[in-house]
């Protein structure tokens, strides 16, 4: 193999391992994790917000995606709220993205996705369904209002 080709391979691998290193750092050190397999959490049938600890501003949100809205579709939280978000679907596959956060989850019927998120900055965080789920998919949105 020609030496310039070998150099190209070494350089490319170096860049890829650099990227991969930063990915693992973000996952392990910065706790930016992708959803994993949750055993022991059964898909719920209706969406609601549960206050876990008022003082510590810890909440749990069971978000239910269905044809064609999120339940609850409007969630009010205080600034600094720390949320355990569980997502499932009652019918077909939906997708959930909370704008300007790393919350990006697929809602697959029969499974539960989980993400932890903190809302420090007050404002309206828009929620959008980003997986095609039928005729009114483009109307399926919600919002989280952080005061």
């Amino acid at each position: 193999m020609d030496r310039f080709e070998k150099n190209a391979i070494v350089l490319a691998l170096a860049l890829l391992f650099f990227f991969f290193g930063l990915v693992v750092y973000a996952a392990k050190a910065l706790q930016i994790e992708v959803p994993t397999c949750l055993t022991g959490v059964n898909p719920f049938q209706e969406g609601r917000v549960i206050v876990l600890d008022e003082g510590a501003k810890r909440y749990q949100v069971n978000l239910l995606a269905r044809m064609w809205n999120f339940e609850p579709y409007e969630i009010r939280l205080p600034a600094g709220a720390k949320v355990d978000l569980y997502l499932t679907s009652r019918d077909v596959v939906h997708g959930l993205r909370i704008n300007y956060t790393n919350v990006n989850l697929m809602a697959i019927p029969g499974t539960v996705s989980y993400a932890r998120v903190r809302f420090d900055k007050p404002g309206v965080y828009s929620i959008v369904c980003h997986e095609y789920c039928g005729i009114n998919h483009h109307l399926m949105a919600g919002k989280i209002i952080v005061e």
Binding site: M1, D2, F4, E5, A8, I9, A12, L16, F17, F19, F20, V23, V24, A26, A27, I32, E33, V34, P35, T36, C37, L38, T39, N42, P43, R66, M67, W68, L87, T88, D91, V92, V93, G95, R97, N99, Y100, N102, V103, N104, L105, M106, I108, P109, G110, T111, S113, Y114, S126, V128, C129, H130, E131, Y132, G134, I135, H137, H138, L139, A141
Partner: protein, 571 residues
Amino acid sequence: MSIRGGLRFILLSEIVFPFVLLILGVTLGLLQVLQRAGIIKSTSYLGIEYYQGLTLHGTINAIVFTTFIIVAFSNAMVMFSLKRSLKPGVQWVSWLLMVGGTLMAAYAMLTGKANVLYTFYPPLIAHWTFYVGVVLLVVGSLVPFFFDWIPNYIAWRRENPTGRFPLPVLGVFVTFILWFIIVIPVSIEILFQLLPLSLGWVEEINPLLARTLFWFFGHPLVYFWLLPAYIMLYSILPKLVGGKLYSDPAARLALLLFLVFSVPVGLHHQYTEGGLSAGWKLWHAFLTFMVALPSFITAFTVAASLEHGARQRGGKGLFAWWAKLPYFSREGDQWLFSYFIAGLLLFLFGGITGIVNASYNLNLAVHNTSWVVGHFHTTVGGLVTLAFLGISLYMMAKLRGVEVKAKGLAVAAPYLWLIGMMVFEVAMSVAAFYGFPRRTAAGASYIDPASPLYHPEWYFWAHLSAGGGAIAVLGFVAYLVSFLGTLFARPVREPVVEFPMAEALHDEPVPLLSNLRPWLTVSILLIAFSYTYPIYESMTKGITAKSPAYNDRLPVPLKQTQTEASAEIPR
């Protein structure tokens, strides 16, 4: 190599038939980008609903057009490289399966019974003709590989016991071995889950397993599209610029690395799904980084080959030589160069946006947003489409025994496509960080100032992407003129199958790189290791209940509507 009668018709029709469908596919793409920008407000236009059009756009462009051109190109390249005629009987079987399957799927999509997009995720279910059509198309595309090319290669090998495995044929074989491996999981998904559910033979199916099986197929599918374009970059492009392929071993290594790393990476489409453990997603992320390596090798090798050609044409300096390449030449076959260089420039951005997609937690920022749409319009919608349009026009001219007509337009087409798709890509990539979703008729909600769901921060970018789309379609129209001119021109020469074949500068034989067996073994072991647990998890721990079928119109299971209303599903 001359070609006559039935075989000539098959090769010609395997180019013209998908091209006619592509005209519809590209038109629907334009309607989509106009709808997403709110320039078309309603979600149905010219009798086609937005998501019906989206299904047609994805299926025609990314499955039907690509598969037909890959088979046509591979047929011609294997025939030309081995200097052995194809087998008409086998080719007719393949042709009938592919055309028949496409017409079945087209029926289901055009009558609005298959609004499931080209990824057809259950529980949304389409009419059974959609699934059977796709399976027939895929099976038909595999027939030439097993019953024509392999026997031809074996016969060629007997006559050339010492001759090296021709690079383009190695490329075609790697492509179709990959294609055969990945057809297995998607066939299992269709034949054991989607089809029975669509026909009502089963009550419900496991949607998570269906997705895992689909993406087991879905990502290597993009390498099934990409590798024929790489074969052209390695075997044809250097000749067009008057240079040589910089390194034949490097090209072989790249192709064989795809055989090893293309398949065990599918979980990078499923990072954001519950039910699959993060550890295996990280393993698939690592393997996806490894499959980026052969593309880096290709980038360097193609650049070196272009430089070699430019030097022959007097190119000087570290960067000045780029100016010596035949960008606008219409001399002989050099018009084809414009398709490759425009495609490569788009693919430059396709590469990095793809690596971002694959980067595990980085995917959280871009998954299912317009970033992904920007990405694949520079890869399959960029390099692959332009390479296929270029080679289709080239092969058609040779098969009809004519010169390419309206060469000026033929050369302008890829550059218009490049400009349009580059603007489209930038618009979609930036809009993604404001949250612009994909697969959404945004014009009827998010981009409509009168709607309560209006998102002002997406408005500009949606319009910019519509502008980009329009310029790209302008390029397609320029190509259309040249294509039709060439299709209906009066023959002036004998029909032939030939390609401008490049020689290699560094050509030392490396036995390991001409022997598929070890690479295939490693590939199968890696696939088994990487997919056994995720599939087990998809079938057991990852999911607690199965799902009944739904259609895109009613928020209740199909079974319920049929038993209650016992009437035709309202259309």
